[in-house]
Symmetry: C2
Subunit: 324 residues, 2 copies
């Protein structure tokens, strides 16, 4: 994996993915205690950065392989990213989801033209269903982060950060990235290594799901005690990726770990001062930049908002923090 692969992905994404802006607000600078810039991938198509990786992977397939279709396991943002990328390539997408996934997410994925196959958690192994469908129909599996073309696609977000920061005269910064399996973190780290070597990347995670922070600290991949149930559902993964961890461990500084309360307050401040909608998992990096400044150096911090697919009840919980 290197920058040439990310540059190739950027060429394939041109005219399909959005170039998200780099936002900021004086009131947030004041809370952060330094200049704070935000890369709002919630404004990306399908509402998260996952469209970049989905498009990159689908567009990289040889045409005859792609024509048979793609398959993904996901109940969330990766599902929507792959579904839209497949639809716009004119090829079928099968998304395997647990039968207890929120009906809104199932509906959204179907609305993007994907065939949703439900499995019962505990009773059936989703990998077996996936393997059977792949073999029967010749579908290609698009993994959510342990896949080079997906990492390259997420890295295009890093290319944009480097260009946009350079236009503002910024060469040095701490860059906080919302981190689950590490696809976005690894992609951005590779892009910035080549294009903005004065920047230091820190993965940001919620408390209780800080596998990457702990893995970086000890040098070996650690697991989370729990795999689900947290507020930040979009970025909960059991352990750092096989492909992503060697990249993040080579290129990243220490991880930043934030509380659920930090996350809700960051969502509310993004509403008030940036006018964007962040989902909980998408707000962990902003929460780190706003409330964990003592763990950072330098006078500029850049935080990703990785997604905005949040239901209104959770968003109202976040807004309620503004009253207190």
């Amino acid at each position: 994996m290197d920058i040439t692969r990310i540059e190739a992905a950027a060429r394939r994404l041109q005219g399909h993915a959005r170039r998200t802006p780099l936002l900021g607000a004086p009131a947030l600078d004041e809370i952060a205690g330094r200049r704070l810039l935000v890369k709002p991938e919630c404004l990306q198509r399908t509402g998260s950065f996952k469209f970049r990786g989905g498009w990159s992977a689908v567009s990289a397939l040889p045409e005859d392989i792609r024509a048979r279709g793609v398959i993904a396991f996901s109940s969330g943002n990766h599902a929507q990213g792959v579904a839209l990328a497949a639809r716009e390539h004119g090829v079928p997408a099968v998304i395997i989801m647990p039968s207890d996934a929120p009906s809104l997410k199932i509906g959204n994925t179907r609305a993007l033209g994907a065939e949703v196959v439900l499995y019962e958690r505990g009773r059936e192994a989703r990998e077996e269903i996936g393997q059977r469908l792949s073999q029967e129909r010749g579908l290609t599996l698009i993994k959510p982060y342990d896949e080079p073309e997906v990492i390259a696609g997420q890295g295009t977000c890093g290319l944009e950060i480097a260009e946009q920061a350079a236009q503002m005269g910024i060469a040095k910064a701490e860059v906080l990235v919302c981190c689950g399996g590490g696809g976005l973190t690894a992609g951005i780290a590779l892009a910035l290594e080549a294009r903005a070597p004065g920047m230091t990347i820190h993965p940001a995670e919620p408390e209780g799901y800080d596998d990457t922070a702990r893995s970086l600290a000890c040098g070996e991949r650690q697991r989370n005690a729990s795999e689900s149930g947290g507020l930040c559902d979009a970025i909960l993964t059991p352990t750092p990726g096989e492909l992503t961890f060697p990249i993040t461990s080579r290129l990243c500084g220490p991880g930043v770990v934030v509380s659920d309360d930090d996350v809700l307050r960051a969502m509310a401040l993004a509403f008030r001062h940036l006018k964007v909608v962040a989902e909980p998992g998408g707000a962990v990096a902003l929460a780190g930049a706003l409330f964990h400044g003592d763990e950072l150096d330098g006078d500029t911090v850049i935080a990703t908002i990785s997604g905005g697919n949040v239901d209104e009840a959770v968003f109202m919980r976040a807004l309620a923090t503004l009253a207190s």
Copy 2:
């Protein structure tokens, strides 16, 4: 007023105002019954398009005049736009607000470095206070819409729409613009006349405050029965502007008028599908595009979201419409 003035404003705004993206979502296309693109000026600095006009006007002043400072009457978005533009030019700004303005707005304007002068509605004429202060200190009044450099600044939003639509291969579209005094509408209309003549502009207004729609229909400036109290406070003005109306009446198609319920539902759909925060007045054009499609022609509609400065209580009212 013509395109050269808007182009000059665009050069002055370069590197200071944000180039907002052009967003869209398949689910919104479906509701609108055609392709729907959204220009989210809520992502502009200070949370509304008003920063464009404020910057344009302040930057156009001769240096010695500007150094003495600027003054504006506003309790809302224009105040913040002028305040930030003045601060970044290193000159003083005085903002005259009613003493019953929400403390959040007073606080926001002060946080941007402006001196806020409060007057009592009914007891004092704000114009007299303004005139006295202007004379004593040599301040230049920046009007919110009846000022050529302000209209030129708002017109830069139209230049961006023309460029971004052209990149997507779109030459023909109906363009809905949130309309109060008509500064944004006139500016965009002038820009598109020169750069995208296949587009038709329609001002969008809330019911009960449809002075521009009625004025366009009869060819003469009409007044609203009420000047305040509506949900869409940011865009309530007594009558179309003296400078703006000749432009809008020459260049615009019929106005689109929407209900408060339309507005709240549009805010909720912008939350769900675009991940941006629209204030009520900022959502009237989107509401028109989504729910008044039978008044429009063609297969593409472009709607501005003019601002996102909404408090959480009103936003929660909008989100509540998603449950029903």
